[in-house]
Amino acid sequence: MNMIVTSASPATPNGTTRPQVRIVIVGHVDHGKSTLVGRLLHETGSLPDGKLEMLKAVSARRGMPFEWSFLLDALQTERDQGITIDTTQIRFRTNSRDIVLIDAPGHAEFLRNMITGASQADGAVLIIDALEGVRDQTRRHGYLLHLLGVKQVAIVVNKMDRVDFAAERFKAISDEISAHLQGLGVTPTAVIPISARDGDGVAERTDRISWYRGPTVVEALDRLEPARPLEALALRLPVQAIYKFDDRRIVAGRIESGSLVAGDEIVIMPAGKIARIKSVESWPVTPVAGRQGAGRSVGITLDRELFVERGDIIAHASAAPRETRRLRARIFWLHDKPLAKGDQLLVRCGPKESRATVVAIEKAVDPGELSSVENKAIGRNHVGEIDISLSHPIATDPYTENPRTGRLVIEVSGRIAGGGLVLSVDAGQRAEPVDIVPVESALRLDERSARYRHNGAVVWLTGLPASGKSTLAKALERRLFTNGGSPILLDGDTVRAGLNSDLGFSAADRSENIRRLAEVATHLARNGHIAIVAAVSPAREDRATARRIADTAFREIHVATPAEVCEERDPKGHYKKARAGALASFTGIGNDYEKPEAAELVIDTATRSVADATDAIEQMLKSTGVLFDEVVDLAANI
């Protein structure tokens, strides 16, 4: 079955080049995508000789009326099921454009094919059945176009013949879908009433839609702009491989954005090493002079021997990507098993891969549903925002700064299971990874412990707001100090006022808040002090991170005062504000506090006095080797 003519290449011998735009046709199943494609091919004179007659004959032989969609449904399997199952690429011409048309399927099962198609598109046609109106797949595809970064979207209201070409019906659908898309930040380039079956509105404004003043589908396609040049952005050259076929050591990759030329000073991220480009190698002629821009697959040599590996990103030193172990992404999920917090994944950012853990999930919704109920996990064909913690540092950019490097895919069992855009990276973790030489204290730990009569520790008090954490922390601080120790209080709110004043209350910021508290507390503990941290720290995963950082010095105390008691106390008035809706992201009145499962100590302040509770903590610190109980113990530690 040959149905694609090859006349559309811009590589004509007379040297004329026409802009090539790739478009995708998306929308709910049975709203007429394949019919529109068949009609477009016919109207633009793109069908091979005899094709139409042949298909009509096949239809007659099968005893079925001819359908335009048969043009595309060339696979046996498709005809059997009556649905288009995959992306095909077809070429045709409008007045001033070469169009590569990707026919994306509408069946819910095949969203991964729609994404495969739409990810390559410069523009999209979203098709809606005039009779059925906007459906869940319509909304889902609209959302995914937005997520994939397809900005030029033309809306086609098909099957107008089924609603007697009623202008009112058209307007109702037009208003609904325009409002939906604008809510996502996408402005439709046109909304066009058509009958793909009969041809109205496809290439011609017929009498039946005489009330319509806008462009036809062919005209709308003719106005699409090709992909935006990436050369103006900062240089990003992700390294695909290092080749040593001869005495040259060639670093190979494709320039994703920006440009480079021999002599440029570059930085290799995430290691942060500096070098100069010695030459740009090629074949059959090498080296090549002149600037190489975005889109080129190149090979460069450097002026010094540095360790470079696949996945590194080469950039100009003045505008390097950020190095991070932690990022937030907006993703779509294609795997059968929903993505849940704590899941282990493989993340690919260009050629770089890293194992990763999902630290938090937010805004998990089905983009097809109007009432977006938030879920805990991201289901198949759903979207959401996730925080990921990476096992290896990677270099990346938020997608708003670089659409090429600011995106990633997620693999499960060796198969692509989802993808998304990098919303933000936590670059605070290791801002200057090169040349950090930690300075050790001049004092030995045993000198300190001999004076304080305790070892260093991180005492972590977690619990609901107003559960009594700060009160207990202060009492403990006083008790330890009275006994000659060196306690230091790190209160969550106090630290937020200074060190963490740049952080808010999103899951990512809360995680970072906890990470910083843990780092500071651990530093104190390593220097022999007892750091007392009082922080709500509602997320189990975040507290697990703190425990990992502080390691054996970590002592977790769950201040398990009942929620009703906490709300009744409400010394800061937070519960009242939250109930009134004036305090977003407040832990306490929802179910978002995750209780510790293996705390060293659990204290309910509703049933114990402060002194009693402090005794219990002191006892725990003795029994777990932080406080020295007797002189014998002290001697053993000197």
Binding site: M1, N2, M3, I4, V5, T6, S7, A8, S9, P10, A11, T12, P13, L47, P48, D49, V58, A74, L75, Q76, T77, I85, D86, T87, T88, Q89, I90, R91, R112, N113, I115, T116, S119, Q120, Q240, A241, Y243, F245, R248, I250, A252, R254, E281, S282, W283, P284, T286, G293, G295, R296, S297, L334, R348, P351, R407, V409, G414, R415, I416, G419
Partner: protein, 264 residues
Amino acid sequence: MDHLDQLEAQSIYIFREAFARLKKIALLWSLGKDSNVMIWLARKAFFGRLPFPALHVDTGKKFPEMYRFRDHYGKEWELDLRVEPCPPIDAVDPTLPPAARSAARKTEGLKMALAKSGFDGLIAGIRRDEEATRAKERVFSPRGLEGNWDVRDQPPEFWDHFNASPPQGAHLRIHPILHWTEADIWAYTKRENIPIIPLYLSQNGKRYRSLGDQDITNPVNSTASTIDEILIELEQTKVPERAGRALDHETEDAFERLRVAGYL
């Protein structure tokens, strides 16, 4: 960057990904215009050499010009050339129509080569615009243990991220020129001055647009005797590229059946 530069850069990217992510790959060299462009692109990707074998699955029924071309350029391009013979026709599914059955020998030859050498990736020069079932292909296309293609369950592939982990014992097909058209191939062949088999150029009013086995490939009517003339002809023709390939036209689904079974 012009259109051909973009195509070239994309193909080079695919070649480098395949070489980096798979353990043992080979390039399927059919000696035709597409696979010659492919070898050229691979040499660009790897700075003059083909760092993996070129596999010719030989039906023994190619045109003499094709064998001469293979022997000459295999040496000149310093290819690690492996010629893999195909089993006789009796070994092939007798329910296929005659030409398809003849072509299916190649699928069997391919399976034998895979079993013998344990490749986990085979690079093939198919293009989306050639044929409707090929249009549905992925760039990295997983094959089942029997070499078969499951068109209904293809993994998602986007943003140049490829699924490169075939299950144990299965292999991947890699398609570096999937996004090229017939006209692109000719324009690039001319620009880069890539050698071609003269059968593609018109003699006595006929030329081959696509080269396969001698007995199941026919020339088309054409006066195009230079690449420039071929490009002009392609601008105007509505005759499909594989019109001269008998196996495509026997029954509606013959080619689809071949591909599902592992044909290129």
